[in-house]
Amino acid sequence: MLAFLRKYQIPLSSGFCLLLSFYILIVSARGQLKNEPVGAALMWVLRPLQIVSQGTANWIIEVQENYLTLSGFKSENERLRKRIQALEVERQRLLEAEATNRKLQQLLEFRIRLPGKPVTASIIANSASNWFQGCILDKGSADGVQKDMAVVTPLGVVGKVVSVTARSAKVILLTDANSGIDVMVQRTRSRAIVSGSLDSSTVLKYMKRSEDVQVGDRLITSGLDGVFPKGLMAGTVIKVNKQSLGLFQSIEVMPAVQSALVEEVLVVGIGGETAPAPN
């Protein structure tokens, strides 16, 4: 028996891992996998590394952008080039500070309009898989973030929290194929579901053929899914296709938020309604 185990230890251990992962899949799909310690421990190890690595990536991008901005001045003499370089770096810094200031101001104004006590968080990592659209936030349960909280920006919906550890949270984006947000067409108040799809487009599902939906229609959260406060911008209709057969229309949507460009977000609790923006 021992000789058999020793001889086939690799296929046996691989088979065990396959069965274990299948078991995890089943438990996870049923929503029964909560507070599992291995994931929390891995996240605890990964979080500081991700913060450092993301900081390095931001620094490299900044340096790259500065270099591209400055490359046009190469023909000028050395003294002027250095002077311009110094001024340009300073300008970049001020522009960045101004942009950050504007962004935070918008976030603050938006935060006041949101129900409950929103938590401000930064995105520290993106999805490591092409099959899922998600990101990791630097705030977790210790900061008041909980599962199923909405993740938003002043521009609209980003996604929702699907799991949390003490100091981080995993977010599924609106553009993920498995997401689904209850929305309504702002003009007609007809309801449907916005969801992502694997072919990189975002779609409006279950909109009846009889409903009037036009290109350019704005989609806002209905507040009925118990996750997103009512009245947040989810996207804009960019393509409507009423097929000759079937109950529903085929509608493509441009998400309100380009999640790849987002750095700071607000995490909002369940329920309530977003106050209208001041004119």
Binding site: L18, S21, L46, A57, N130
Partner: protein, 168 residues
């Protein structure tokens, strides 16, 4: 054991790079699957029970960060490791082109595993077009970076396992 732990540690670093520095690469939205290449290397050159567990854990780490459904990548990486291990016993491997081809096939196996899991546990609406795109692009990118990563891993391994002056 020591080598397995080192490769696992290296895998954790790759997970971090895959989730943060991929923005710097000029290849659009497709994330290069460094973990897959590492699991193939592991299955080819150092297949042990620890390596099987390591592949599973690295897949699980990717799940922790990326996947709504835990176990998807853990399943795919375990499948890749097993397939590569079984395949490696009948293939002559020590050539960069061969390693590229093996990684290409491993990525296709991983894609098939993900499709299987997706069909069983997740929604398949609008699935096939995107799935084919990701399977093909992931496999090609992984095959392209495989020779470089294999060389780096081999050199790193030589540094770690090289006997010191006292042993000589």
């Amino acid at each position: 054991m020591k080598l397995s732990l080192l490769l696992f540690g290296f895998g954790i670093i790759l997970v971090v790079l895959q989730t943060t520095l991929q923005r710097l690469l000029p290849i659009g939205v497709v994330v290069p699957d460094l973990i897959l290449v590492l699991c193939v290397y592991w299955g080819l050159h150092h297949p042990t029970a620890g390596a099987a567990l390591g592949s599973f854990m690295l897949g699980y780490a990717v799940d922790i960060i990326s996947s709504r459904l835990l176990g998807v990548n853990a399943f795919a990486m375990s499948l890749v490791f097993l397939a590569v291990y079984l395949g490696s016993r009948s293939i002559w491997l020590h050539h960069p082109i061969v390693s590229s081809i093996i990684v290409l096939f491993a990525a296709l196996i991983k894609g098939a595993g993900l499709v299987l899991v997706w069909i069983i546990f997740l929604s398949t609406e609008g699935f096939w077009q995107g799935a084919v795109k990701y399977i093909v692009s992931e496999a090609l990118i992984a095959a392209l970076i495989a020779p470089l990563m294999f060389t780096l891993l081999q050199r790193g391994e030589n540094l770690v396992t090289k006997p010191g002056p006292a042993a000589q």
